[in-house]
């Protein structure tokens, strides 16, 4: 198949269609809306279900119902909308249903703005809703990767009966890039043995998230945790760039990872031995891959479009064995490769003090540069 120039939001929508999406439920919110708009025409054309819901609450609960039938379903939204969906996501997690959710993250908190951000990292990787559960989180850094991960998302959701979130950001959703779309998969006809589909001639099936008996809830939670351990063991994905002889390692995902890659390449041209590790799954987090880099690395630099949320995951792995620096932009601001290059150069020249939490130095620098706003 040929590559075509396609917008991130539309590419993910078409990739989902080709993965055998049976139903889509969503609500307009920038910078995700093209995904919904595209499917509003595409799904009916194929005789599949599309509903523009009354709210994100409505959308996620329609997805909840559709997922109970065992057929492929998804929704998409952006940060404030995904916050509204957290109620439904917690119920879906407890009911152990396969659901794909796309979050085209924008600047926040609050209404924030519609610019690209990674501010929802904690919400995405810590479950987000009430109670203890995990969701698989895939973080593409290009339109092509978003397409590929969309196909994967449906397979992983079904394999583990789990929520898979595709964590994008406003720039990935809005950007046009050449990408190759996958071939059409037929819509699955086999019905999972847990699906509530109103069939006769078998025991009735009930799907619920209520376990009024605490021991039963605890057993459910143990099952969820066991499945998460399986996911941690089998589904970690990341990309490494120039890591073989790297003395310094940059860690960044999604758009920040992509920007960091440009900076790493420039730094290499300047003779700095630096590499990049880009987590593709931010949950499960590539713990072993980072751990393996610790002995050969002089210092790490974490780059994010937030206030250092993944930074805490990196700190947990590195556990004080090596210094870590942080550079981030917040509120819908996107770092330039030159910003990251400057940080790499500072790191390599030993200018950065590692006595305090990496966020302290960064925040002091941000205040000096941009003021406190007070």
């Amino acid at each position: 198949m040929a590559r075509e120039l396609i917008k991130g939001n539309v590419a993910v929508a078409e990739a989902a269609v080709r993965a055998g999406l049976v139903s889509y439920f969503g609500y307009p919110i920038t910078p995700q809306t093209e995904l919904l708009e595209y499917l509003s025409a595409r799904m009916p054309e194929l005789g599949r279900a599309f509903v523009q819901a009354e709210s994100e609450l409505g959308a996620i609960n329609m997805v909840y119902g559709a997922a109970c039938t065992g057929r492929r379903t998804m929704t998409s939204s952006s940060s404030p909308g995904v916050s509204l969906m957290q109620e439904g996501l917690s119920y879906i997690a407890c009911t152990e249903l396969p659901v794909v959710v796309v979050n085209v993250v924008r600047g926040g908190p609050g209404l924030g703005n519609i610019a690209p951000s990674q501010g929802d990292y904690n919400q995405a990787t810590r479950g987000g809703g009430h109670g203890e559960y995990h969701q698989l989180v895939l973080a593409p850094s290009s339109v092509q990767e978003a397409v590929d991960l969309t196909t994967l998302a449906f397979d992983l959701a079904e394999k583990y009966r789990t929520i898979v979130m595709i964590l994008m950001d406003g720039s990935l959703g809005q950007m046009m890039e050449p990408a190759e779309l996958p071939p059409f998969q037929p819509i699955k006809t086999e019905v999972p043995d847990w699906a509530v589909n109103g069939e006769s001639g078998r025991e009735k099936r009930v799907l619920t998230s209520i376990n009024i008996d605490p021991p039963a809830q605890e057993r459910t939670n143990i099952r969820l945790m066991t499945r998460w351990q399986e996911i941690e063991a089998n589904e970690v994905r990341y990309k490494g760039y120039s890591l073989e002889d790297a003395e310094y390692v940059v860690i960044g995902y999604g758009t920040a990872g992509r920007i960091a890659l440009s900076a790493v390449r420039e730094a290499r041209e300047k003779g700095i031995k630096v590499g990049l590790l880009r987590p593709v799954t931010v949950a499960p987090f590539p713990v072993k891959a980072i751990d393996a880099l610790v002995p050969g690395t002089k210092a790490f630099l974490v780059v994010e479009m937030n206030n250092g949320q993944m930074l805490e995951d990196v700190r947990l792995v590195v556990s004080g064995r090596k210094p870590i620096a942080f550079y981030g932009r917040m509120g819908g601001m996107v770092p330039y490769p030159d910003d990251v290059l400057r940080e790499i150069e500072a790191l390599a020249s030993g200018q950065i003090s590692f006595d305090e939490h990496p966020r302290e130095r960064w925040l002091a620098q941000m205040r000096a540069e941009f003021g406190t706003g007070a």
């Binding site: 279900a49 609960n61 909840y64 119902g65 109103g198």
Partner: protein, 260 residues
């Protein structure tokens, strides 16, 4: 030994599980459940039906019905039912919701589902209070009615007036059949069953959204005997919530449904 001329006149509906009730004595949830099971059995739909349970006293409704069920977050049953119906359009899909669930936290979902003409049926239990949490004020609590969160009686100056949900939903084009019935005596229970039959037929024929509001008793939280609760319903609820047909689409050609 049963004599050969003995006729079976009453038995557990096929749509029911064999289990004891967890509902309070005198509560009309059991009556409503039974009517649904009877109607679906008579229509031959037991093998094609998916129910959506609410949050509230009926959260465990699926323990009583002998067919597939899901359990929705508070108020979201119409959205969940939409997802199911759009995925499996040939199935009979219904929600069973109380007044806190449907008319308070879930008002957005029910209005939107009715407006879309979603091909689902809703059974709406109105007993003027939040039963499961112990009898707090609901959107349906009558003016002056004492509840645990309106201890001096619902003060309409500060807490507003109760919502007539059926009348409100009847204004929506997508709603094909919206009626109110009551479960306080045998005659009204028979009329309620006829209305449920019509509501499910509306769904089967794809005519649009259908809802039957059922006036119900809550003797425990009302602090009355079951018998007194029935009298209280007739004397206090019926004047504010009259039984009747608020929307009957022209496409419905079934025999006339008696309301009053």
């Amino acid at each position: 030994m049963i004599a050969s001329d003995v006729k079976l006149v009453y038995q557990r509906p096929l749509g029911f599980e064999e289990r004891g009730t967890h509902y309070c004595p005198g509560c009309t949830h059991g009556v409503a459940h039974r009517l649904i099971a009877e109607v679906l059995e008579e229509m031959g739909e037991l093998g094609h039906t998916i129910g959506v349970a609410p949050v509230g006293c009926a959260v465990f409704a699926y323990n009583y019905f002998a067919f597939d069920f899901v359990e929705a977050p508070h108020g979201r049953a119409p959205a969940m039912a939409t997802g199911i119906k759009r995925s499996l359009p040939d199935r009979m899909v219904f929600t069973y919701q109380g007044d806190g669930d449907l008319a308070s936290i879930g008002m957005g979902e029910i209005v939107a589902a009715a407006a879309r003409g979603e091909q689902i049926t809703t059974i709406f239990i109105n007993n003027t209070n939040y039963g499961m949490t112990g009898g707090q004020m609901a959107p349906t609590t009558l003016p002056g009615q004492v509840t645990t969160s309106s201890p001096h009686g619902r003060d309409v100056e500060r807490q507003g007036y109760p919502i007539r949900t059926a009348e409100m939903l009847a204004t929506l084009e997508g709603a094909a059949y919206v009626v109110r019935r009551s479960l306080h005596d045998a005659k009204n229970i028979r009329l309620a069953k006829k209305a449920l039959r019509t509501a499910f037929e509306v769904q089967k024929q794809g005519l649009g959204f259908s809802m039957v509001e059922l006036l119900s008793t809550c003797p425990t939280n009302w602090g009355m005997t079951p018998a007194d609760a029935r009298v209280w319903l007739a004397e206090h609820m019926l004047p504010y919530y009259p039984v009747g047909d608020f929307k009957v689409s022209n496409a419905i050609s079934f025999e006339k449904q008696g309301g009053n």
